[in-house]
Symmetry: C2
């Protein structure tokens, strides 16, 4: 029975990858670079984007696709900053999906105004497991990891840390108040994803936010990077 379950899951992931390629072709046609931004709930994805949009992205025209189980709290926060935001809710007839998949993103494409943006940031549902399993047509994956979550998360959720091209370590302003071993976190990240880029930031104080902003501008400028 377990074998069957694994096979069903693999088939679902194959179907997802096919749709992700279709999304990708549409993004490429409009020269839009796409970042899939993931994290645990409350790690600070939206706060980070607020900090970035407040200082601006220069000539890069950003857009955001907000994935949430329910509501539009994050979209409301970002739309105050005059960035085009589309809300995608994952709640269906039952408790709600814990991740975005390629088909959900596909249904949102007509609302995204791809012709008028250069960079699409997809803020995924807060979850360290399933969002890492479903490609949505992105160029790159980035994750936000808060120092309040403990140093062990790369070892407990290895796929998430392994699939990301960038790990943003957030809330470093709280380090003096935590029993936290930052070197252990960096070692754990390195053990599951050797050589992956990391940055230390505080979305709250603004420290290090510019490095993430520069990374986004860099992603937006290399249009059509292969997936």
């Amino acid at each position: 029975m377990h074998q069957t379950k694994v096979r069903v899951a693999e088939d679902a992931l194959d179907a997802n990858t096919t749709i992700a390629h279709a999304n990708r072709a549409d993004f490429d046609r409009e020269s839009v670079s796409v970042v899939n931004l993931m994290s645990a709930p409350g790690a600070g994805k939206t706060s980070l984007l607020e900090a970035v949009f407040r200082s601006g992205l220069g000539d890069v025209r950003p857009g955001v696709l907000e994935g949430d189980v329910q509501g539009s709290l994050d979209a409301d926060r970002l739309s105050h900053l005059h960035v085009p935001v589309t809300q995608l809710n994952t709640d269906g007839g039952f408790g709600g999906e814990c991740h975005l998949d390629a088909n959900m993103v596909r249904t949102a494409l007509p609302s995204l105004g791809l012709a008028d943006i250069d960079l699409l940031i997809i803020e995924n549902v807060g979850n360290l497991v399933c969002p890492a399993e479903f490609r949505v047509g992105e160029d790159l994956k980035a994750m936000v990891c808060s120092v309040t979550e403990g140093e062990d998360k790369p070892l407990k959720y290895p796929l998430m840390f392994r699939t990301c091209d960038l790990v943003v370590i957030n809330k470093v302003d709280l380090l003096p108040h935590l029993d936290y071993d930052l070197d252990a976190l960096l070692r754990n990240i390195e053990s599951v994803n050797p050589g992956v880029e990391t940055m230390l930031i505080s979305a709250r104080t603004g420290d290090g936010v510019e490095a993430f902003r520069d990374w986004l501008v860099h992603v937006a400028e290399r249009e059509g990077v292969p997936a």
Copy 2:
């Protein structure tokens, strides 16, 4: 297609509920009370259990079932405290399940030594979505919500907060260092689950841990509470 997807999910949940009832019958036969403990990654479930086990549960004999995608870091932490711990990993041929379901728990029953414990604490996978959808045969559900995650989480993950019988608000020692509106959190919890019990604790300093300990003892003592 969406309708089909919802129906498949509902069928899966029905099958899960049937197995959860079977688990429950086994727990009842051995007079074991069961708490399903949930939270986002890094909210402090294991730290809370460590704090409780350090001070002890009086005459109540606890056992723990640890649910993780991969590894046994939390089980190792708890087994140092001389509590019987069984590890359950959810990683299969793909990225891993983001929650425990009734069947996974059922496979672990023979390892749990039910005859020798009064209270089983099931530490679920860190995730605010799917663990709330799958009953595993528990008497009560409790969740840990860290103040570092922001006040909006009850509105963004309403099913999790709605299904819980207790919300433990952890890391209150960090409140002086956060821009955090505790009253807003309590209002948001009340809006999705009116009257639910809450407690303020710091697993790190030990403040308030005794209230959670007393709650566990109380659960263990009312054997055979209807699901």
